[in-house]
Every structure is written in C-alpha cells, then in structure tokens.
Symmetry: C2
Subunit: 132 residues, 2 copies
Amino acid sequence: MIRLTWSKSLQFEAEDDHHHRIIVDTDKGFGGLDQGFRPMDLLLVALTGCMAMDIVAILQKKGGKIDSFAMEAAGTRAETHPRKYNKIKVRIICKGAYRREDLLRSFELSRDKYCSVTATLSSKPDLEFVVE
Amino acid sequence: MIRLTWSKSLQFEAEDDHHHRIIVDTDKGFGGLDQGFRPMDLLLVALTGCMAMDIVAILQKKGGKIDSFAMEAAGTRAETHPRKYNKIKVRIICKGAYRREDLLRSFELSRDKYCSVTATLSSKPDLEFVVE
C-alpha cells in the first residue's frame, strides 16, 4: 500500500510500507512548488524501473557483464483533457561485455513475460474508489 | 523525459527534466537494497498524486477549506507472471470545512475529465522501444 499526504500548495508526500518517502509536486505555474517528480513522470519511472530490474537481472544471469545501464522514457500526450499518454517511447542503453542477442532476449522477456508495470499499462486495471 | 540509471544491485536512480532525483529499488530477497520505492508502488503514487492535485485544486476553487488530505492505494496483483494489477483500490480522506457534494464532484471531475494518469491507465498507451 502507499499513502499520499497533502503538504502544501499542490505538493504531496508519498510513503510506502517500507518507510521510504518521496515528494510529488508540479510546476509553479500549476500551483505547485516544483520540489519533486510530477505524477506523469512517475508513471515513466515506474515503467522503466520495472523493466530495468528485469533486464539487468536476466542479462547478468545469462553471463553478461554490465558496465552501465540506463533507460530513458518520454510520452506523447493528448492535447485535450485528460491529456493522457497516447504513446510512450523508451530507450534502453546498455554498455558492457555481453552478447547482443542476450540483451534483446532479456528485454523481450521483460516486455512480454515479467514486467508487471508494462502488463498493467496494457490491460486496463479496474479502479475502485472510496471517498470518505 | 525521465532518465533512469543503474546504481548497483537492482537499485536505480531516476532523474526528471527538473533535476529531481529518486531512488527506485526492490526487496533484498529479489536482489535489491530496499532503499527506495518499488516500481509497482510508484505506479500507485503516480495515480494518487495526479488525482490528489486535481481534487485539492478543484475543491479549493469551489471554496472548500481543507485541513488535511490523504489518499491511500493498494493493488491486487495476478498470481502468475507478469503479476499485473488486476484491481487498484483507492481511498480518499479529506478533512476540513467543505460541502460533501463539492468533494464528490471534485473527485468525479478528476476521475472522468482531468486526471492524466487515470486516463492513461484506462487506455492502453502504445509502448515503443529502442534497444541501443
């Protein structure tokens, strides 16, 4: 479970079950204080973080030696409300001593079999709300 | 755009275009260091953060005085890989001097009209990958 608590302006603090905390914020022009990630960027962090863990873990199991690994993600948003992401482009940049086919296979296994965030984004989860 | 960079073990650091940074990590049992949010929890933070900004902003515009505001979210995951969220339950807890109907209307406007994360989760965005 996560709990998000209003701090001030449009800034919030999120806490998980393991006592980690992050600030969620938005542009000053939208009433925020610009001191933390925006929610739509966090969606991209969730996506890349999930895939990155799969890819690094699988590639290493295949014997790959990774010197550096990064992912970049950017979304194209609809112009009208609710300005959802129509498309998300993801780049995977891996440097080290590994076989190209092993990196591609690790990526495919994440995308098609293991990544929980990718699968959730591709499946319209039920959302249930309670307003107290 | 966001950029996620591998740190060590299965721990990563994410950075947005505004120089904010957060640690993304996972359980020690899965090879992480347990020093930051897990990706699937970040998905819940993105969802609640986006809706929270809408609801607080709209309710205040309607003249509501908010003393405290929080949202909680928990997902029910599939038992088999890729263990996606089948359902996400969200609680909204608002205290202050406001009309109940204004809170409900603010929530509905977020859910149905303004929240970019809710809309993205409900629409299967295209995912495009480049492996360098």
